[in-house]
């Protein structure tokens, strides 16, 4: 949808993921979309170098979020939200409706 503007489909998926969940790590995103971890990491580096995302270490995991100091963040997120309205119900359910509320250990997901 925004591939032509963003450069490739992986970066679009990453940005949709962050728009939906607020944060993400390469392995998790890789599993969600069945894309190689390297491919995700490469695009995260590109986004981080451009100041669009920032990363933090949480334990041993590098977690990425939108950079709240990116001056065009509001406009970028508005565009992503608008583009996501055009996703099919299937895509929405498959990729962007994962459970995010807490779940006690031991309970089935």
């Amino acid at each position: 949808m925004l591939e032509a503007l963003l450069g490739n489909a992986t970066i679009e998926k990453i940005l949709f993921f962050l728009e939906t969940y607020g944060q993400g790590y390469p392995k998790g995103i890789s599993r969600t979309f069945n894309i190689s971890v390297n491919g995700i990491q490469q695009q995260f580096r590109r986004l981080e170098n451009g100041g669009i995302v920032v990363s933090f270490l949480e334990g041993k995991t590098r977690l990425y979020k939108f950079n709240p100091r990116y001056p065009f963040l509001k406009e970028l997120r508005a565009m992503l939200a608008r583009a996501m309205e055009f996703l099919s119900k299937k895509e929405m359910a498959q990729y962007y409706r994962k459970r995010t509320r807490p779940r006690k250990p031991g309970k089935p997901l």
Partner: protein, 179 residues
């Protein structure tokens, strides 16, 4: 002038880098923690020099290479003799949602440094405190404010616009507290 990389100060290094790039037609502006070090007279030492430039990194590589700085990772440059890292974050220069359009020109014996004004340096640090709750950034904003003349009324108005008025009040309390 011979450069002793092991002993160079952050201010001198900023001037050396700015000067050599300017002579090659590349304009850079110093932002971030290095501005704090300069304005707070080294009461806080940053080990990163963040320069913003509209030039491409490819243009920088040969020029910085002559000074012994090699591209390390992404936008970072490193000289093994020097304790400071040089970074070139992506433009534009912005603090919160606002573009920064006015800068300070600092003349040193090593050359001229174009950098954030003290007021924008304080706002830059406060923005990090507002967005990430970074207490170090808060301390740095206090250091710069104490060592320079900045218009706190304007900064307060900016903080209101950025939704950081409660944290600005904490900053004000810190300013009047004993150092």
């Amino acid at each position: 002038m011979k450069i002793e990389w092991k002993k160079i100060t952050i201010r001198d290094l900023a001037a050396v880098i700015s000067d050599v790039l300017r002579k090659n037609g590349i304009e850079v502006t110093l932002v971030g923690g290095a501005c704090v070090s300069i304005y707070a007279k080294n009461k806080y030492i940053s080990y990163d020099l963040d320069f913003i430039t509209k030039s491409s990194l490819k243009e920088l590589v040969p020029i910085l290479g002559e000074l012994g700085f090699k591209r390390k990772d992404g936008r970072l440059f490193e000289n093994p003799e020097c304790k400071f890292l040089i970074d070139f974050p992506a433009p534009p220069i912005a603090i919160g949602n606002e573009p920064v359009l006015e800068f300070k020109s600092l003349r040193t014996k090593r050359g001229i440094i174009i950098l954030l004004t003290p007021a924008d340096c304080v706002k830059d640090r406060l923005a990090a405190y507002f967005f990430w709750g970074d207490r170090q950034a808060l301390e740095q904003a206090v250091l710069v404010t104490r060592s320079n003349r900045v218009n706190l009324t304007k900064i307060r108005k900016w903080a209101e616009k950025e939704g950081g008025i409660e944290k600005f009040k904490i900053f004000q309390k810190k300013l009047v507290a004993k150092a």
